[in-house]
Symmetry: C2
Subunit: 209 residues, 2 copies
């Protein structure tokens, strides 16, 4: 996952976006969407925040929706990589589930502004883009469900409702993006450790270490 | 809690708001804020949705923020009543915690549009109103923490981090408002029952029934 997840409180560097002007516009869009919401933000606002003209913005992004899609796509790709890496990692189901929760929570805490845009503005995506993003979200669900199913199969987990528990685990982690800023006395790592323990309890993991 | 919580998928009737015109404006504001966000909504939009003129709106609400505050206040009052009723109810800590989760989840599922406005637009409240709402949220936290502390005291719960677990329990319930609409194949009651079981596991409730 690189260093972004390990830098609490700092927005992700968007290293995959180039050139520099396109990256600066993306960062400005994240800030504006997070503060005022997608619908209240104009491309003029975004260009202004990035210290650029609206005409310069259009060189890189044809529409405001294209900016949102780019942010959402990068965010969802990261989420899926985090969860898939944990699911396919070494160790038993309990270790892999704890690792998934720790890194997923860490990302939502450290990048809560990006995460809010990614999680709350799905309805603003165009039809085609929304379909693409929903497919990525299904794969993220699958990664967590795979770990839980492994634990049920080996008898280490006791989970009467696997899809419902998968949903609850992801939901618990995602909501960190909503409250994280306000409750500033816990670090992303501390929240990740607490949540990993709570999630192992949710799946009835035995023995608890 | 009245009947509102028992009517899945239906927005709350706002029976406490009168006269009828003021109530219709509030319902219109909830819809507009939930769809487009607070900052993208004008008082003209809200009046239009309610089939009224902007001038008629100003008879009841002086500003858009007054509408948001009214919605937020009513929503937070309901949340606190739900949680306090469960905390002060009959039965042991496990029964009371399960009751709190079932009714809090039920409200967030059945009234997910209102709940989203209440939960996501806190930053848009004016200073004084935000202070008032934050105080109500603290009391809601307290209600859940009281139940968990009771369970720890009687030895029925095993909770190493009471404030962190309280936060997680509330967060899990609140995030239902984000995903509920999309995952339409579970009723609010079904989600409530699933979550009550998961939360009892989170607090290490023994024996599990």
């Amino acid at each position: 996952m690189g260093t972004a997840e390990e830098t609490p409180g700092e927005e992700q560097p968007w290293g995959e976006v180039s050139p520099d002007a396109a990256r600066r516009l993306l960062v400005a869009a994240v800030e504006a969407f997070a503060e005022r919401g997608y619908h209240a933000t104009t491309t003029r606002d975004i260009a202004g925040r990035a210290g650029m003209s609206p005409a310069a913005l259009y060189i890189h992004y044809k529409t405001k929706e294209e900016l949102l899609h780019r942010i959402s796509r990068i965010g969802h790709d990261k989420a899926l990589t985090i969860l898939r890496t944990a699911a396919d990692g070494d160790g038993g189901p309990a270790e892999r589930l704890a690792a998934a929760v720790r890194s997923f929570v860490g990302w939502h805490a450290a990048h809560h502004m990006t995460a809010r845009v990614v999680q709350y503005e799905l309805d603003a995506l165009g039809e085609e883009h929304r379909t693409e993003i929903v497919a990525l979200r299904r794969k993220s669900d699958e990664a967590v469900r795979d770990i839980i199913n492994d634990g049920v199969r080996t008898g280490q987990f006791d989970v009467p409702d696997v899809p419902g528990t998968t949903l609850a685990v992801l939901s618990l982690c995602i909501d960190v993006a909503r409250w994280f800023n306000a409750a500033g006395h816990r670090t992303p790592d501390e929240v990740g450790a607490l949540y990993a323990d709570l999630v192992l309890r949710m799946v009835g993991s035995e023995p608890r270490k």
